[in-house]
């Protein structure tokens, strides 16, 4: 393992931790002292250097360990990666998008050379070298979407656009906040989002769908979602809920700082060229409460967000049970002083 990448686990002994650099660049999702749903999309343009927004696909110190965890999840449950047959072309579009971006943005780790349709890809951190023919899936060890997403952090869904709607018809989903790809694959935009409370009444999904149907090539967008997780467990799937559900009941005031994690999803949306599909990467970042409170502004703000969030939302996000313990812990770091607008540390 090189100095660039942590040797850590997201299961069992849970040795995951964030370095000081990772904490400073953590994508804190709250620009103000409260939270309610919104469409809240902004252009996914190159952002602040060093931040998670700098590059199209962010590679950080957790890269190698996350890919190892993904491989373990897939070995245990192959249904976490599925592609309906007509989505293979979209999978190729995604492979091209990711390979081009990573070779451009991280040339020290990735390289891509093309001779017509003969491509050669090198992934140094994972020690992979692959020659293949673009658009010919017999030249890759597995389908193109699976191939590239086994080497890219975050979950991915591919959505076919037809009938004025988006249909989730392929995906690699191993770091999800409690939804099942196997069950949801084939659903329309509103159907897939059906279990989310309150947002439907607020027509959040109507507006989001209308916006996404007109999403253009070359104009990706991004937004945040967030929830809470006990232990740095990436695989909080419904399939495994009988295993991770009980851990919520074992939290104590002594352990909460170390075991309670804010889980942030940086979601981006990109139009794909050949398939006209939309790819929805969902990149998961974890931070322990005891790491987060080292940034005073975030400590104050997170306390206020958790304190004021409606119970229905806290229940849907799965942390209603531990909300009192969280507030006890976080309130110690909230001196009531005002916080600056925006997500960055002061």
């Amino acid at each position: 393992m090189s100095l660039d990448f942590n040797d850590e686990t997201f299961r069992g002994d849970f040795t995951f931790r964030n370095s000081a650099r990772a904490i400073a660049r953590f994508p804190f999702p709250f620009p103000e002292d409260g939270y309610m749903y919104s469409v809240n999309m902004e252009p996914h343009l190159p952002g602040k250097p060093g931040s998670v927004f700098e590059h199209m696909f962010d590679v950080d110190e957790h890269y190698v360990a996350e890919m190892r965890d993904r491989a373990l999840v897939l070995a245990e449950d192959p249904l976490r990666c599925q592609s309906l047959p007509h989505m293979t072309l979209a999978g190729w579009d995604l492979l091209e998008l990711i390979m081009d971006a990573k070779a451009r943005d991280y040339p020290q780790w990735f390289s891509l050379t093309k001779e017509g349709n003969r491509w050669h890809w090198v992934n140094r951190p994972l020690q992979i070298e692959q020659s293949f023919t673009f658009l010919d899936d017999t030249t890759l060890p597995c389908g193109p979407m699976e191939y590239i997403t086994r080497q890219t952090q975050g979950d991915f869904t591919l959505q076919d656009q037809r009938d004025d709607n988006l249909w989730i018809e392929a995906g690699m989903v191993t770091t999800q906040a409690d939804w099942s790809l196997d069950f949801d694959i084939g659903m329309s935009f509103h159907e897939w989002h059906a279990p989310v409370p309150l947002a439907h009444e607020m027509r959040v999904f109507d507006r989001a769908l209308k916006f996404l149907l007109n999403l253009q090539l070359g104009a990706p967008v991004r937004r945040f979602n967030w929830t809470m997780t006990v232990d740095p467990l990436l695989d909080t799937s419904p399939e495994n809920y009988p295993r991770w559900g009980p851990t919520k009941t074992t939290m104590t005031p002594e352990t909460i700082g170390h075991r309670q994690h804010l889980r942030v999803e940086l979601q981006t949306l990109h139009r794909l060229p050949r398939s006209n599909a939309i790819v929805f990467p969902i990149r998961c970042y974890l931070i322990k409460f005891e790491e987060l409170v080292t940034v005073p502004k975030w400590a104050r703000r997170l306390h206020r967000v958790v304190r004021d969030i409606p119970d229905e939302l806290a229940t849907y996000k799965g942390f209603i049970r531990n909300k009192p313990l969280m507030l006890d812990y976080l309130s110690r770091y909230d001196d009531g002083l005002p916080t600056s607008p925006g997500i960055w540390p002061d």
């Binding site: 249904l79 009938d163 099942s180 196997d182 069950f183 949801d184 694959i185 084939g186 659903m187 509103h190 159907e191 897939w192 989002h193 059906a194 279990p195 439907h200 419904p238 399939e239 495994n240 809920y241 009988p242 559900g245 009980p246 919520k248 009941t249 049970r321």
Partner: protein, 204 residues
């Protein structure tokens, strides 16, 4: 008549009322009380005799035992077949769909399980699912897939219930998959093992 499912989440299927539509052939699949929906619909056709001469009806008894075979057979459709179960009917349905041409009208009536499983075959054969008309009649028992073991429990009547495959206690969600033709069941006592609310008879 239909149970008239109360307003629920967007992924909960919504059924309609069958109406005769112009087409080059008519394929009807029904179970139990769904037979009455077919009979009513055909009676409304501008040319019922013509429609029946291009109709193929597949019928099964319903989950609660209702069997209206005699009524349906007497309509005189070009083809009528009664199967004892959906599983027995499946090879025939798949063959009929494989031979069908664009222009075939599809009518599905009866229990949600029958409608969902027949609709899945329609989709597999290449028709958009919106092409099929559906009308719910009779039983509201559900097919429920355990999200943990992936096994489907048929004819679920209570909430919560015990997965017939892995034995977990599951609560029944309204979240529904057309591809699996089942509602979703999730472990109810994961966080408090053993603390299972008494089962309520929700579906009949």
């Amino acid at each position: 008549m239909s149970a008239g499912f109360s307003r629920s989440i967007p992924s909960r299927p919504v059924y309609g009322v069958l109406e005769p539509r112009p087409g080059t052939a008519h394929l009807m699949v029904a179970d139990g009380e769904g037979a009455a929906a077919l009979t009513r619909m055909i009676a409304q056709a501008p040319d019922a005799a013509g429609m029946l001469s291009q109709s193929h009806i597949l019928y099964l008894p319903g989950p609660n035992g209702t069997d209206l075979t005699a009524d349906l057979r007497s309509l005189g459709a070009a083809q009528f077949h009664r199967s004892p179960s959906f599983a027995a009917c499946l090879p025939r349905l798949q063959k009929v769909l494989a031979d069908a041409h664009m222009g075939v009208q599809i009518y599905l009536a009866g229990s949600e399980g029958l409608i969902g499983q027949a609709l899945r075959e329609v989709m597999q054969a290449g028709l958009p699912w919106q092409a099929a008309q559906t009308e719910h009649r009779g039983s509201t028992v559900r097919r429920v897939q355990c999200v943990h073991c992936k096994g489907i429990t048929e004819d679920v009547r209570t909430d919560p219930f015990v997965c017939s495959h892995c034995g977990l206690n599951l609560f029944v969600r309204d979240h529904y998959s057309r591809r699996i033709a089942a509602f979703q069941g999730v472990n109810i006592d994961a966080e408090d093992p053993g603390q299972v609310p008494p089962p309520v008879e929700r579906f009949a």
